[in-house]
Structure formats: structure tokens, C-alpha cells
């Protein structure tokens, strides 16, 4: 029995598969693991309570449960949910959308699979185009979307250092060039894996570049505004016909319901609905049904801004203090934590690769993600790629603290081991 090229690629082991398997095995395994690896959101009791109440209310309301379970939504997603969301975005965020601009997907990964193949890959003209990632590191989940085809071109960031312990990436506009083989610009904001939040002026510059080149700007707002809005600095959100904004319910706390949302010009939204039909018939009904009333009364915004955002801001602060204590005098800088649920640690001069560090930590019961997998589309060699790891601070605080302590020990061992070999 033989596989196609697609099958051979699937069989070769992808970064995102290993990541998801690691998370799952750790959740289901018998050994106590410290889960600083995956993207599972925190269990915030106040948020969990809201969703339980929403589900209870849904069950109590006539045959709503029967309809959500027993009917297919259309390929664009649930009509009432989409209407409510358009209204929310217009009245509370100042956007200017109609229901025809919105399409529901089975989560952000599905959104990106469709979007990236819409604007990169083979063209009827015979050319091939790519997605420009203006700032690497970028999200690991993008990497394999091309199914073996190189879909991305990424650029190294500019780096500014802040004090002894912090640094921040910026889009390096001096280096960035948009060539004719670019089909779209894409960026996550906040950035997964770094927690970086592109400034309004960086986004404005990217938007201008997109318009000048007649290509869309794709904003991955899975962690951003208007919900769950895990964004610590004051920044604005916007939408226009040349921008594609991708939202998700996962980081609100509902990853199991697999709900993504794309806001885009009508022609694009229709193409995504067609992709839904072909790839999965229709998106799932539970996520939209569960939060449709919270969209309708806008309580999803206060939940995001008054509960979810402050929770993660506090957790980030706490995790930073644990890291500072754990790494002592060893080289370690933390990317300025501006959002998302991760810290991005840079061990400058690390004598082992980030993958080797990941393996050593896994042996010690700590799951992180090796930084080197977050550079899809960056061709050049750059030591920095192997010197970073992503850690999530979203899981049980005691476990995160223990995990960070072990990271400190392994960092010491890595640097000291190298030194003793040199002696």
C-alpha cells in the first residue's frame, strides 16, 4: 500500500503534530508533567462559570440544543451568530462590516489552511506565490500548512534590548521587501510565540504596504481583540476591505469547540465558505450557539477586558518573577510580555540547540516548545533561532513555577557543561 505525495508528507512527522501529540500524551499520561508547552488556555473559574451558565441556559431554552446538535449549519456558519457578531463589531469596535463579511470555520488552523492556500501556491498564470511573514519568529502552526510546499517568506526582526532581562522584536522595515511573488502579508498580533504586540504604527505600515501591492493583510487575532483581547498595551483594532482579521473562541477558553471566525471582504468570505463545504461540509454548531447571547449583549467584551486580560497579565508578571529567580546569572532575556499566554525566553550563547534543551526538559517532566520551529519561511542561518524557547504560563501556577525551576536547572547544566568541556 502506497501513499501519495500528500500522504508521504503527512507520514514524515510535522512540527504541529508532535506538539499536539505531546500535549495530549501529557494530559492523558500517568506521569505528572509540567505543561508549559501547548496552547491550552487557562482554567479561569469565573470564565468557566460563564460558559457553564451559557450551556445551562441553552439547554433550558425550548429546542435550541436539539437544533444545534441536529441541524447542519450552512457553510458560512450560523446565521443568527453572524448577524449578532456583525452588529457587535460595528457598534462596539467601530468596524464597518455586514454579515456577508463574516464566515465561521472549525478553528483558526482551518482558517489559515484555507486563507494561505487562497493567496499562495500555484496561480492560474503559472507563477507561484508566497505569504510574507514580516516578523519571524511566527506561529509554528503555519509551518506545515503548505503540505511540504514552501508557502512562506519570513524576515528577521530588529531587536531592541531593555535593561538586563528584556528584549523586544520589531518589524525591520529597512529589510522588508514585498516582491511580486507575494500573495498576502500575514502576522499574528499578539504574536504566537513571543507575546509581542505589533504597535499601531507597525500595523499601519504593513497595511500601507499591502494596499500598495494590491494584496491583503491577514491579521491573526487568535489572542487579540476584540476578544479574547489578551493584549496588555493600549492598541487599536480595525478592519477594512483589504484586511482579513481572524478571530477564535479557543483562547476565550473554548478550544474543544473548534470555532474560528474570519472577517474579510465578501468575495473572500464566500471562498472560505466554499472551502468549508469541500473540506468539512459545515463548521461545528456548538461554539457559535454557546456564545451567541454573549455576542448579542456584548458581555463577551467585558469578560475579555475585565476578567481574561487582567488574569493573564497577572500570571505573566508572576511567571517573569519566577524566571528571574530561576535563571540567576545565566544569560536569559524575556521578550517584553505584551499579550497572548506565552513567554519567549532567549538564552544568548546557549551551547545546545533549543531542540536539545526541549528534549532534556521533557526527560525532566517539563514540556516547552523549542524555539527553532517558529521560523517558517526564514531561509538564512541565525544562531538566535536555536537559542529560544516558548513557555506557556497558562496552566496550574504551582506546576508552572516548578517547571520554570527545572528550566533554570537545565539552563545552568547546559551552560556549565559547555564551560567544563572547555576547561
Amino acid at each position: 500500500m502506497q501513499f501519495s505525495r500528500f500522504g508521504e508528507f503527512l507520514n514524515s512527522g510535522s512540527g504541529i503534530l508532535t506538539l499536539m501529540e505531546d500535549i495530549d500524551q501529557a494530559l492523558c499520561g500517568s506521569t505528572q508533567m509540567h505543561l508549559l508547552g501547548g496552547g491550552n488556555p487557562a482554567r479561569i473559574p469565573q470564565v468557566q462559570k460563564v460558559f457553564r451558565e451559557a450551556m445551562t441556559a441553552l439547554m433550558a431554552q425550548d429546542d435550541r440544543f436539539e437544533r444545534l446538535a441536529g441541524d447542519y449549519d450552512g457553510p458560512q456558519g450560523d446565521t443568527r451568530f453572524i448577524h449578532n457578531l456583525a452588529h457587535l463589531l460595528n457598534t462596539h469596535c467601530g468596524w464597518n462590516v455586514t454579515p456577508a463579511n463574516i464566515v465561521v470555520t472549525n478553528g483558526s488552523q482551518s482558517s489559515f489552511f484555507a486563507l494561505f492556500h487562497l493567496f499562495a501556491g500555484d496561480w492560474a498564470s503559472g507563477d507561484a506565490r508566497r505569504i510574507l511573514l514580516p516578523l519571524a519568529p511566527e506561529y509554528i502552526g503555519y509551518a506545515d500548512v503548505g503540505l511540504g510546499q514552501q508557502l512562506f517568506r519570513a524576515f528577521r526582526p530588529a531587536i531592541t534590548l531593555h535593561g538586563d532581562r528584556e528584549f523586544k522584536y520589531h518589524v525591520d522595515f529597512d529589510r522588508l521587501t514585498v516582491t511580486p511573488d507575494i500573495g498576502a502579508i500575514a502576522v499574528s498580533r499578539p504574536t504566537n510565540p513571543t507575546g509581542n504586540v505589533l504597535t499601531d504604527s507597525e500595523v499601519a505600515h504593513l497595511r500601507q504596504l499591502a494596499v500598495e501591492n494590491d494584496i491583503p493583510l491577514i491579521l491573526d487575532s487568535a489572542y487579540g481583540g476584540p476578544f479574547p483581547n489578551i493584549v496588555f498595551p493600549e492598541v487599536t483594532t480595525f478592519w477594512d476591505e483589504n484586511t482579513i482579521t481572524c478571530l477564535s473562541l479557543s483562547k476565550l477558553g473554548l478550544p474543544g469547540l473548534r470555532t474560528g471566525i474570519i472577517v474579510a471582504k465578501e468575495k473572500i468570505a464566500k471562498a472560505i465558505a466554499a472551502a468549508n463545504a469541500i473540506l468539512s461540509l459545515a463548521p461545528g454548531s456548538v461554539g457559535p450557539a454557546l456564545i451567541t447571547d454573549m455576542i448579542s449583549d456584548a458581555s463577551i467584551l467585558s469578560l475579555s477586558n475585565d476578567v481574561i486580560r487582567p488574569y493573564y497579565r497577572e500570571r505573566a508578571k508572576q511567571a517573569v518573577s519566577w524566571i528571574e529567580a530561576a535563571v540567576g546569572d545565566y544569560p536569559c532575556r524575556i521578550h517584553t510580555p505584551e499579550g497572548a499566554i506565552f513567554l519567549w525566553l532567549w538564552f544568548e550563547g546557549l551551547p545546545i540547540t533549543s531542540e536539545e534543551l526541549y528534549q532534556r526538559l521533557k526527560q525532566r517532566g517539563v514540556l516547552v516548545i523549542a524555539g527553532e520551529h517558529f521560523f517558517p519561511g526564514l531561509g538564512e542561518t541565525w544562531d538566535h533561532r536555536q537559542e529560544c524557547i516558548r513557555i506557556s504560563y497558562a496552566q496550574d501556577p504551582a506546576s508552572v513555577e516548578t517547571g520554570i525551576g527545572i528550566i533554570g536547572e537545565e539552563i545552568a547544566r547546559a551552560f556549565d557543561g559547555a564551560n567544563s568541556k572547555c576547561a
Copy 2:
């Protein structure tokens, strides 16, 4: 703004998209439509009650709801569900599977997208292969999975006539040839759209052809056994390492939860899990969580065999009697209703195409599906393709009866119009 070849294809309007949009617009629209078109399962009160109780029990059990909503499943699907299912298939169906043979997807359409691309399309050797559909008509949803690439080769069936009103398709093994460019054999059982159930001996023959050619046999059991088992004749189910069986929760009554299941040899199951990770990170959690206890105590089998199957058998009988009354002496044969939730009507010598009939019926408020869309991969011309329609008998009986009455009127009009033109 330009689209890739993939985007241009999505933009061109696909059969399955039109179908899903029609269903959705009819469900949400203000006009009363008679929904004989889509694949929505029936609302069977006894079944709905079971699912409501399962959800209520789930909500009442500690933090099960919080875990299903708040954690990602692994890319293979929920571990406990998979273990329970392997046990059920072994003890109650006599299969011989391990949990490593099972993978959950976001519904059967997602299953087929991954499977067909695994065994057809481009090969590393430079060849291209196709999926053999041994009996056309076959499921409309397969047609666009190739995204514009021709993934299928289909064969005309043999036809036997039964009395004045019935006919049945058979695999025409005299015609069927498995050439070296075939990557897999695929067949739905019961067949969507016809309600045909391949006999055990037909399946055995196909299984033998697959083994001889070292390619897998893909059995689409979305309507078949072991659940929901909407199969009226006595037939057996089986599984072996060379067979890929695809199950679904949709026709049990849960299409909104988007849950498909693939049972295949381990290497294939792993490749599908990788496709899950890349295309959607992980499958949704709600479907597996909702039915895991019903899998565990095997009550899903009694629900299928004692409630769902008899319900549809009765509905099919009723619909056949309405059709016989509605079409009077006009040419109309019904494919022997052996399963699924459809009747397949053949109007031999129909003076208009099935697409034209579909349009006329839509104008009259009756949604059906034109038969000509159910022949993916059949190159040859054949009048029969334009002479059939698929109707669902799953929706509200009064509406189905009215719809069938209108079909009778439009059939009379089509035949009489042609006759009067000849006069």
C-alpha cells in the same frame, strides 16, 4: 486582489457548496420550503431525548463539561472515546482493532478530504493516481474534494428491474477494471444518493480486488453499520487491515457536532491524525464526549437497531406509497430502498434534465437534488444521469408528502409539455 488556482476553484461555485447553501437558506428563510434536498437527519423524539439526557448527564458530572470545552483533544481524538469504541467494535461487531486503528475527524467530509488525497493525486514517482468508484451514482460530496483535479474514475452499474416501479443497481464486475493508476477503491454503503446497499458478495469481490492490487478498500459507512445502521436488508460489517471504514455521528442525529471516525491500519490512522493537526489542529470534543458513555454501554447499538433503523424503514415505505400515488402512470422507478435516508427516483425518458427539474421544483418551494451531480468520475455520456433525482424522506412527514405531490405535478408537466410540443 488575486486568488491562487485553489482560490479560483473555490470561487467557481461547487456542487456541495450550492447544496449546503440551499439547505441553510431554506432553514433560515421566511418562505416555507419543502426540504427534500439535504442530508439533515430526521428529528426522532426518542433519539433527541437520549442526546438531551446524555448532555444533561455530562453537565452534571464534575468538570466534564469544562474539560471538553476547555482542553484541546489530541489530533487523533479523545483517548477515552477511542478506547471505548475499540472495545465496542471488538466485542459487539467481531472486529479486531486496537485504539491505534481509530482516529476522529471533524465529520465524514473531512475524513474523505484526507483519505482521497492520501491515495490519489500526485505521487513521489511522478505518476498521478485516482480513486476508483465501482458504482456510479456516488456521493455528491466527493466530487469537489479534488479541488479541480480529477481524482475519480467511476463505472456505470448494471441495472435490474423489479416489477413496474422498482430497480436496483449492481456493481458491473464485467466492466470494472483496476488499472495501475488506481490508488484506492471507495464506495458508500448504504449508497448516498440511492439507498442501495451493496450485497455481502459484492463487497467481498471488491475486497478481493483491493487485496490483489495492494490498494485499500474505503467503505463509507456514514449511514451504515455498526451505527447508525440505517440498513434494511441483513448484511454484515467487517474490518481488516486492508479496509478503511468511515463512520459518522451525523446520521445518528448529531450533524451539528461534526464528528467523523476512521478505522484503518495504524499507518493510515497516524497520517489522518497528522492531517487533522495541519488542517484543524484537533477534532472537536463535543461529539465524542456526548456519546462516549453510549459507546461504553453499547446502547448506541440498540438505539441504532431498535429506534433509528425502524423509524427510517417506516418512513421509506410511507414515502414510496406517496410517490406511487403522485406520479400515476408517468414513467417513474424507485431504487429499491435498502438504507440511508433517501429515495432515488428514475424518470426514464424525462424530456428535461434533472437540473432543470430541480430548478422548477425550487420555484415551487420543493428542494431536491438533481441526479446529474452524483456521477463524479464518470466520463461517458449516459441519458440516465439526467433522468434521476435524490429526495430525502427524513424531514417533517406532511412536508415530504406535499413535496412529493408537487414533484408528481412537475413530472406530469415535464412529460406532457414534451408531448404537446411533439403534437
